[in-house]
């Protein structure tokens, strides 16, 4: 696990080019790193710092704010079981208990085969469908112990590969904006004229 690959550096340069300041690309590049390795490695943080002109500490400081960036290896599938009010009332805790039992791991850890990481989650905003869980942020509603077991079996058998890509995948089709189609990002200090929507001073009176 490592720095960004050569292909990803090319994508990174393209992303950086979309912003007036390289630093603005920090979070998209963290997504890219997480897509590459499944989590954000220290080497990738250092590499991103070099690419955007920030220190590793600054990139780490930004990255660690976000719950969905992981800094330790996670399984191919990240299973988040909601434990907030509605889900808790509808059996979320029992579901978690069942999941821990079935998978043989505690919440916050990964199965020995590296396939599934189990985590508690706060409200997933689907209270009408409680209890809910997410697999790599894809919803499963009204989950019962039985449907949970079936889900795990499907994941293990690879039957959901087309629906649920490995953890870290932001999109399977990456948006490409060729350089000549870019909007021409201009840094605020380089802006010399008022934006089109701003009325001229005399018109404002």
């Amino acid at each position: 696990m490592s720095r960004l690959s050569e292909d990803n550096v090319r994508i990174a340069q393209e992303i950086i080019g979309r912003y007036p300041r390289a630093r603005s690309a920090t979070i998209p590049l963290l997504h890219l790193a997480q897509q590459q390795d499944g989590y954000v490695t220290n080497e990738a943080i250092r590499h991103i710092g070099e690419l955007v002109g920030a220190t590793s500490a600054e990139v780490l400081g930004t990255a660690t704010f976000y719950e969905m960036f992981k800094f330790e290896p996670v399984g191919k599938y990240l299973v988040n079981i909601c434990r907030t009010m509605s889900c808790a009332l509808m059996g979320g805790d029992e579901l978690m208990h069942h999941a821990e039992h079935t998978l043989g791991i505690k919440a916050g850890s990964t199965t020995p085969d590296g396939l599934i990481t189990l985590e508690h989650a706060e409200c997933q905003a689907a209270c009408t469908e409680a209890p809910t869980l997410q697999v790599n942020y894809r919803y499963r509603f009204r989950v019962t112990p039985e449907t949970f077991d079936a889900l795990i079996e499907d994941l293990r058998a690879g039957r959901l590969d087309s629906e649920i890509p490995p953890h870290g995948t932001v999109a399977r089709i990456r948006q490409r904006i060729p350089a000549d189609r870019g909007v021409g990002a201009v840094a605020p200090e380089d802006v010399t004229t008022a934006p089109a929507w701003m009325p001229a001073p005399e018109a404002a009176k």
């Binding site: 220290n42 220190t55 600054e58 780490l60 704010f65």
Partner: protein
């Protein structure tokens, strides 16, 4: 009603000050300055608002909310963080209203909820803003009874600084300092949210040259400095204001001691100089004062080596050596080197002794690594002028390594868009990142580089925009000063209005040269003295706090000079390579062991505090000079330090204003710029072409090296990087050796062996070796007589 027409005499209308803003603070009318933050205006009006994150020298962030006050801008009173809002006309501020007090008490209670309250074992206890303001503005009691947050107790975030995250109140002072002031954003808030903490990136410590400042500005005991941990309680410390002489920037410091031992320096905010900041070398170098290796008694050389002796017999021996030397070769066969590491008074007494009593003109405060003294006679800039000039031209060594706080000031000027920096350098420096233009030149060709740059339209337009300050110094010890002087002359000819700030490094080099430690009429400069000594023409060489074997770039010349001088007298605080060879060694009082004055690069004379008793029987240099003068038959008339200070003010051109009264009245010192001593003449630079297979050598200093003051400060001694020869990564293949492997670096004169390293700060075709580091000495390769040094690098 009738309107009366005014027939009054025309009263000159009072022009209202456009920058005055009238506000009401705690019921009293107050005129603040436009742009002042409420917190500052209130303080000026006598109403102190408690604060943790607000710091005058950094941008406000409103992190801690401690400074909440009630402000009425016409829409009714509202709580506002006073560090975030500038005053506005008619604003009514109430810092002590029940609402403001309740808010402040609430913030204290919340800040203390997770604070460990381990004040009895905390170094900050007694001088802690959190402790003080909990008493002055806190509720007195906490309702919080739950378990507090726990973190691993202090973790080292660098070799010098420890971080206790339990005590931290997340005020953003240290992280802001690191990013905004020092430019080394190596600490940052991580895991922001419920578990926000300050931390470094794993394996990338906070190894900033300015890390000690974060300890000083930390408003709690979260950051502590290794050299001071558990050494003293603040109420046991005595302090005296002084000036740091580690380099020649002249930062104001508070020297703090307990039980007659210096335990800490704190930066003092001197507006024209250091703004409260210090570099770590200056801040933690106090450890060398109490080093066990300090000289305690005079030494004389006998057949068995150095023997401790009394001052009487040492002075008598030294006076006899001088008398013998005069008898053998006349007064001009005596030479005095040094004086740049002491006070103005030390240098003045030694200058009087050398010039007037002994009668020699061979005196120099520089050690073949400086600039011709004529540079000091050019139109001198102050640091403030440099940091507010439209254009700053750097023809100087890496200021981050040599004059760190000047680096902070110039960096500030560049990042705040006050100034544009045009840098001429043989390799990338700390300021290259902030420079508007950097022109890299091959050592020796800087005059050509300057000429080419001046011919460029955009640079010409920039220079025409406003005032220009040129910072000049020796960027490369492996070349003579001639190419730099030629480049300087090209600049001053093209820009006659430009002011010059000389970037000479040694603590009081400006003062020493100014008060007379410079060649007299027909006298030899430092290189001349060393050459004469090497040729056996110097009967007696006197080293006043000078260590030529460590300081002179041409190591071979220094060795031959010390071997060739028939008699050698040294005044020093330590036995170093040079004083080891002396016939008589006088132990000198160190910094903080003597009073006096010092002069910084801009000519600012400030006071030095005498804080602790001298080590052993050592004496200040001036006293040693006065004693020797008396033994040689002349009474200099100095009985105490004030006599010497007064004598400088009375006798030295340019130093008239440094009277005791003026110094006492102005803690920021008085400017004393000597009049032109001699014109600078650019010697013709004759450069041999570099062979295609040679590298042109750059030798320059790093902040931490083997210098005696650093080597005898245990906290700093381990920070020196060690020697290596650095080339551009693309030149590694040319060398034909692997990074880290030992390689031979050779000239026709000598060959040394150093590990090979890659650094893209080094230009292609040149090689860089840091000076005075552990390992082989690059000085062996340097020839003081040659304009530049070319080396061949081969695998072993």
């Amino acid at each position: 009603m009738t309107t009366t027409e005014s027939n009054d005499l025309e009263v000159p209308a009072v022009v209202p000050d456009p920058n005055a803003v009238s506000v009401v603070i705690n019921g009293k009318q107050f005129t603040a300055r436009k742009g002042d933050l409420i917190i500052k205006a209130a303080e000026d009006a006598g109403a102190y608002i408690p604060r943790f994150c607000y710091h005058e020298r950094m941008s406000p962030v409103g992190m801690c909310r401690m400074c909440l006050v009630e402000v009425d801008t016409g829409r009714g009173p509202a709580l506002m963080p006073s560090c975030m809002f500038p005053v506005a006309p008619g604003m009514v501020v109430s810092t002590e209203s029940p609402v403001a007090k309740a808010a402040q008490e609430g913030i204290i209670e919340l800040l203390l909820a997770n604070h460990p309250l381990d004040c009895p074992v905390c170094d900050k206890g007694g001088e802690c803003p959190l402790q003080d303001q909990s008493f002055s503005h806190g509720p007195g009691e906490s309702r919080y009874i739950e378990e507090k947050r726990h973190y691993e107790k202090p973790i080292p975030i660098s070799d010098l600084v420890f971080l206790d995250r339990e005590r931290c109140i997340l005020c953003d002072r240290c992280t802001r300092f690191a990013d905004e002031v020092a430019g080394d954003a190596l600490i940052h808030f991580t895991s922001r949210g419920n578990t926000t903490q300050v931390n470094t990136f794993p394996d990338e410590p906070f190894s900033s040259y300015f890390s000690g400042n974060t300890v000083q500005i930390c408003p709690v005991g979260a950051l502590t400095a290794k050299p001071y941990r558990f050494k003293a309680r603040p109420w046991d410390l005595q302090e005296a204001e002084s000036t740091c002489t580690t380099c020649s920037v002249g930062c104001r410091t508070a020297v703090q001691s307990s039980r007659d031992e210096v335990l800490r320096y704190q930066g003092v905010d001197s507006d024209p100089v250091n703004w409260g900041w210090l570099c770590d070398k200056g801040r933690f170098g106090f450890e060398s004062i109490a080093s066990d290796d300090r000289l305690t008694t005079p030494l004389v050389r006998t057949a068995e080596g150095h023997q401790a002796t009394s001052w009487n017999s040492a002075s008598a021996s030294a006076a006899q050596l001088i008398t013998e030397a005069i008898a053998a070769g006349g007064a001009s066969s005596i030479a005095v080197l040094g004086g740049a590491r002491g006070s103005n008074e030390d240098a003045f007494a030694w200058a009087r002794l050398a010039h007037d009593v002994i009668g020699t003109s061979n005196v120099s405060a520089q050690l073949a690594d400086g600039l011709p003294v004529g540079v000091l006679g050019l139109n001198r800039a102050t640091i403030d002028q440099a940091a507010s000039a439209t254009t700053i031209i750097l023809l100087a060594p890496d200021l981050k390594e040599e004059l760190p706080v000047l680096y902070l000031r110039l960096r500030d000027a560049a990042v705040k868009h006050r100034s544009r920096i045009i840098e001429f350098a043989p390799k990338a420096s700390g300021l290259t990142r902030y420079a508007w233009r950097t022109v890299f030149y091959e050592p020796g060709s800087q005059a050509d580089a300057v000429g080419a740059a001046l011919a460029q339209d955009d640079i010409g337009a920039q220079l025409a925009k406003g005032d220009v300050v040129i910072v000049v110094g020796r960027a490369n010890l492996a070349e003579s000063s001639a190419p730099t002087i030629a480049a300087l002359q090209a600049l001053t000819t093209a820009l006659p209005g430009a002011a010059v700030l000389p970037a000479l490094r040694r603590g009081n080099v400006m003062g020493a040269i100014g008060v007379g430690m410079r060649p007299g009429k027909g006298g030899l400069d430092s290189r001349g003295i060393l050459n004469a000594a090497a040729d056996g023409k110097i009967e007696c060489l006197i080293l006043v706090g000078a260590d030529p074997l460590a300081d002179v770039p041409d190591a071979d010349l220094a060795r031959r000079a010390l071997a060739g001088a028939r008699r050698l007298i040294a005044v020093d605080t330590f036995i170093n390579q040079s004083s080891k060879l002396a016939d008589v060694v006088f132990p000198a009082a160190a910094y903080a062991e003597k009073a006096g004055t010092t002069t910084n690069i801009e000519g600012r004379v400030t006071t030095l505090a005498h804080k602790v008793t001298v080590t052993g029987t050592s004496r200040p240099d001036w006293m040693i000079a006065a004693d020797l003068a008396l033994r040689l038959g002349t009474d200099l008339g100095f009985t105490n330090i004030d006599d010497v200070t007064a004598a400088i003010a009375a006798n030295v051109d340019g130093f008239e204003s440094m009277t005791a009264e003026a110094l006492a009245a102005s803690p920021n010192g008085v400017l004393c710029v000597p009049v032109a001593v001699e014109p600078v003449i650019a010697p013709a630079v004759v450069l041999a072409d570099r062979n295609a297979y040679d590298f042109r050598l750059v030798v320059s200093r790093k902040l931490y090296d083997q210098a005696i003051g650093t080597a005898t400060s245990p906290s700093l001694a381990t920070l020196a990087t060690g020697g290596a020869v650095y080339v551009h990564p693309l030149d590694i293949a040319r060398v034909g050796s692997a990074i880290g492997a030992s390689v031979k670096v050779s000239t026709s004169k000598a060959t040394i062996v150093l590990p090979l390293a890659a650094d893209d700060a080094v230009q292609r075709g040149s090689a860089w070796i840091p000076f005075n580091q552990h390992g082989a000495n690059p000085g062996d390769l340097i020839d003081a007589a040659a304009a530049v040094t070319d080396v061949r690098i081969e695998s072993l």
